[in-house]
Symmetry: C4
Subunit: 385 residues, 4 copies
């Protein structure tokens, strides 16, 4: 009923690539920003130009690589290699990627600083690459899409307040401050600054009427913010629940303890579990700290550091159950030995489930007893060595 898409093997390489990409991106944006400062010493100016060029070349290499591997993408499955590459090159992604590198290489390699405006304008396209590093961008986009009717209504309220306030303040303040409230567009600037509660103070009403309109606008600003937050909070909560359920569902079948349960029971447990991804060498639980959750390993491997030795647990294993069964502090420190995906079951959810699914508790308790005995053996062996 489910399958994994991401190839587990190349995940580590992917993470390293992302880190490198982020560093190059940050360096590039920083260099572009500093280049815009007037009166830099020529040597620094040259260095920054070289950095911008280097970053552009890295992104150009990325462009070529993506173009080359376009046929591997599932999106162009039925096409010939040439057609797939052409299609990608003409897609929005392909065009933006090209525009983000070619002009910069042209400008910087040709007449450096002659027309420095072109550099920042095209480099702004780099910022779109940040998208790759935002894991939950999809969720946010879907929340906004799902709630678009409500958000549009708030935007319309926003515009209604804006236009009404600008018109009245223009009429009220025009004679006292002709240069600031002389026209409705001028007054609109004030209205935006006020309604968002930014309040620069460059334009401020002086008449009593203008101040009254201003007060209403400020309070409306709070209301608009509150409505928008309310809408997004509701939408986000629902979307997040859905996403998490699917993430858990994709992981849960790797844990034999769960797969032996019936469908109804499984579906209930899935809604209680949480997925957590950990890089290698991260401490998941620490000895002697109080604990309120147990962990199931759906991918990767952890090292359980007991007092005098350590045990390795891999896919399908679980740990931390003592904190739930006996409410005792952690009896061992657990460290990931490779990038690991864990399913977390919080104590509160465990007790709720436990009442309805005694078989799970039994299985956990039985496994715990078995492992405790085995651990004693391991410890004894470690002592002997």
């Amino acid at each position: 009923m489910h399958a994994v898409f991401r190839p587990s093997g190349s995940e580590h390489a992917g993470r390293q690539w992302r880190a490198f990409h982020l560093i190059v991106l940050a360096a590039g944006l920083l260099a572009v920003a500093l280049l815009s400062v007037e009166g830099l010493p020529p040597s620094l100016d040259r260095l920054l130009t070289v950095i911008v060029e280097a970053v552009a070349i890295v992104f150009f290499a990325e462009y070529v690589a993506r173009l080359w591997t376009a046929p591997e993408s599932a999106r162009f499955a039925g096409l010939s290699d040439g057609m797939a590459r052409l299609r990608w090159a003409l897609s929005a992604n392909g065009l933006i990627s090209l525009m983000a590198v070619v002009p910069i290489i042209a400008v910087t390699s040709g007449t450096i600083h002659a027309d420095s405006d072109a550099v920042p304008i095209f480099c702004v396209l780099w910022i779109l690459k940040l998208n790759v590093h935002a894991p939950a961008m999809n969720t946010l986009a879907r929340v906004i899409a799902n709630e678009r009717a409500s958000l549009a209504s708030v935007v319309i309220i926003f515009v209604m307040v804006l236009v009404t306030a600008a018109t009245f303040t223009h009429l009220l303040e025009r004679h006292r401050q002709p240069e600031l409230f002389g026209s409705i567009p001028d007054a609109l600037w004030w209205a935006v600054v006020t309604l968002t509660t930014t309040g620069y103070g460059d334009v401020v009403p002086h008449t009593v009427g203008g101040k009254m309109v201003g007060s209403v606008v400020m309070v409306s600003g709070i209301l608009v913010l509150a409505l928008m937050t309310g809408i997004l909070a509701t939408g986000f909560s629902e979307e997040e629940r859905r996403r998490e359920y699917l993430r858990v569902w994709d992981q849960v079948t790797r844990v034999p303890l769960f797969t032996q349960l019936g469908t109804v029971t499984l579906s209930e447990i899935v809604s209680k579990l949480r997925v957590r991804h950990y890089p290698a060498r991260i401490v998941v639980v620490r000895r002697d700290e109080p604990g309120d959750s147990m962990f199931f390993i759906s991918e990767g491997e952890v090292e359980v550091r007991l007092t005098r030795g350590s045990v390795t647990l891999s896919q399908g294993g679980f740990f931390g159950e003592m904190a739930l069964l006996d409410r005792l502090p952690r009896s061992a420190t657990v460290v990931t030995s490779q990038p690991t995906t864990l399913l977390v079951l919080y104590a509160s959810d465990f007790y709720e489930i436990a009442a309805n699914i005694p078989s799970l508790v039994e299985a956990v308790e039985h496994e715990a007893r078995r492992r405790r005995a085995e651990n004693l053996g391991t410890v004894a062996k470690t002592d002997a060595s």
Copy 2:
């Protein structure tokens, strides 16, 4: 147990009318705003005046049309045509619509720009027409109505902080800044600007005492905003759930797959489905992308674009079930061929329902198998052609 109100046939015309209305409205408001700018070239001034006049005429035509069709409205059902029109003309809606057009036509056709103040004042009434374009305005209004007791309390806290802060700051700052804090009304302006965290900076306390009061007011501002948001978020979440349930309920009976279920089961599924309206020629799912939802067509028609041919699905049909049953990427691109209403079932909800209603899963699986075989036939036929 339910019926549809909106006449499906005139929906398309309605959408086109709304788009035209919005463009006219925007043009009108923009022209009024620009007209208020001093020192425009006479030709532009004349053009803008003509636009304002044209918009007013469109709205006047709308007024006449609404007046004429008033007897068709269910609201004036028992009345004679004349009485119905008179009643509408004297209703708030009718009077506002009249005031929003007649004065402008009078002013602009008579002495242009002589008394330009009249134009913006009456045009502000146009902004009320934006209301039509806000689909969720009703929901927001009901949330505010339902939570009025809580909101009133927050407003009272707001007023209490405002008056207390203004009084004390007036007493503390009066001697240092007599022109800014010389009276309580003056100090109230500062208090509003501060409590809403707008902070123009035109009035700022200088004494240590005044700054302390100011700090308390700012922190109170955050608290007031947080309380208001909390209230509205709670109310919005509840209202939205209710609305969505009804929307689904009105659509769900057009899908035979659902109507054959019992009432208890149906009621559970309704709370899980979501309604989505799509215009024509919109891509609903894209081939090879991962999917987490399936779709039921309650109105309209979609085109399923398979690798080598396409199939049309209409009311009662469903698609996207493979993403749920096998967790595979989308096997086809689906595009709406007319304005279409879909019922979305997310994977997380499908699995939860599946556990309790095996009959639905069976029905979906059976239908899917049947359609897969049929599709093969379609494809074969397409190949042959």
Copy 3:
């Protein structure tokens, strides 16, 4: 299992008294505020002084009345009349009420405007009387009390950011702006203004380091606001649910339709109903509008205006069920004929309940059929007259 505290008879008088109280209070505060303006014409000054005095006298009369009726309060049940009055006079409420009137009467009747400071200071105590008009103040207070641990933590984060930012900005900006960042207390003022995102602009960092610290403070400000809102939203939602449940519970037993249900069923319905209080002569539903709820009368009386006549429904009656049973628009306008308390059942909740409690639906349907027939009779009778 429950009882009503509020005496229904005096409710109307109470509402009138509250309206009068609010007007007096507003007039008093307005007069005090205006009195602080310098250079008023002597006649206006005299008028305002008279108003302040009159308000003080009203509040003094209120004080005497409350002192007199103290023995009636349940709080002093076991005491003699004299003791009860003494106890009330010495309670916080009593002392504040006294201080809010005696000094003002003394000052204004004696040397008017001689020492005008005393007036606003003591009048600030009037603002505490606003409390009476905030129906949900209790709920808000309890939310803040329940979440005090979380809120305290946010306040501590607030203080930590404040002090750290002030110290570093003081060190960084001291040399460039000695008069604004010369000491940590000076820098604290800037930090508060920035962390609350008020941003007066009277104090702004000029060094690069100061601007970086400032940026961190502003972003922290957003985080603090978001955390506080999150905490209060969660708490408010839970508290509101509890309150509403009790309010419904206190009303539900007056509707025979509900009381004949079993405890389990009743408890489920109670969590779905909502209480709404309406004054007299309010339109609850309007003919021909779409409806999504039905109403049960737990107190008061409504008039159902049918096409050609009207019917009166009183306690225990219900209306609006056609919108739920058949999803039709309202067939009549319903207006309250006295202050009325209604229990609202939304369509979404009705369908959910209906699946589990067929007996309720049956009862509603049966009653609806009976009343429809009866209404026909009424209409016929009206026709005959």
Copy 4:
């Protein structure tokens, strides 16, 4: 299945120590802040220096005490005393604690005010000690950790808006305001101030294009704030539910009334109860006030003040049930006689539970009847004395 960690006996001492710690900390920070003011009278300067030194000495004593008792900590369980102390001294906590005291003692005892900068820098480390006083800091930290993917996405949106806005405004405003928008870093300062809706007003766009970009940035600021709040509100609500469940679970077994229930029933009740900690001599309920909750004592002791005498209830007892059973006002005032932990059951939850668990209601009713009779006896006895 559970155990208590905190030693109940030393809890009182711990509370006193925390109060003392907080006062010392506040005094220290205040003294450091005041010391930074220029031109203090020498005597005050000396006093403040002495206070700073005294606070540093107290914290040094705390450092020594913590170093000494390090071996008692469970964290260094297997180690010798010396090793445990060395490990603690070299831990982050140990090093910070040392740096927070040694330099200050050195500076102030040696050359006072000679290099006053060192004092505030090292004293900032004191602020980290505030952490101890934030009871819910852990919850907040975990919410932020759990939602880190979503928050990171919001931060990336934040950075994307920031960089894009700064680049465009730089290009648009550069010629009009070369000193304020002359470089992208300069424009970034404006963008941060605007996107957080702080709006100092020290840098404001003057061109039409700049104002348009500015308007978009301000509205984005509201969206960013709304998204962040939505994320944190969702996360906080879930985390709080989990924590509270565990807190109740740890307390519930001390109340015999609950332990005699089955596991399924118990698990349901636990999710309804709330834990409240009260210091000694606090009024929990007040006679004659309306009540909506009953209380179970899981730790400590309360005094029930009846009309003519009082009864003591200790661990396992309960009170306030009359408000639930009969919806009557409180019949007695209840005051804690020592620090007490109560489990609160709100009326709304009681009625919901009652429907499913008649045995609990029976137990409460039976106990209530018994205690009522007993109380009568107590009252009689008190009368006799």
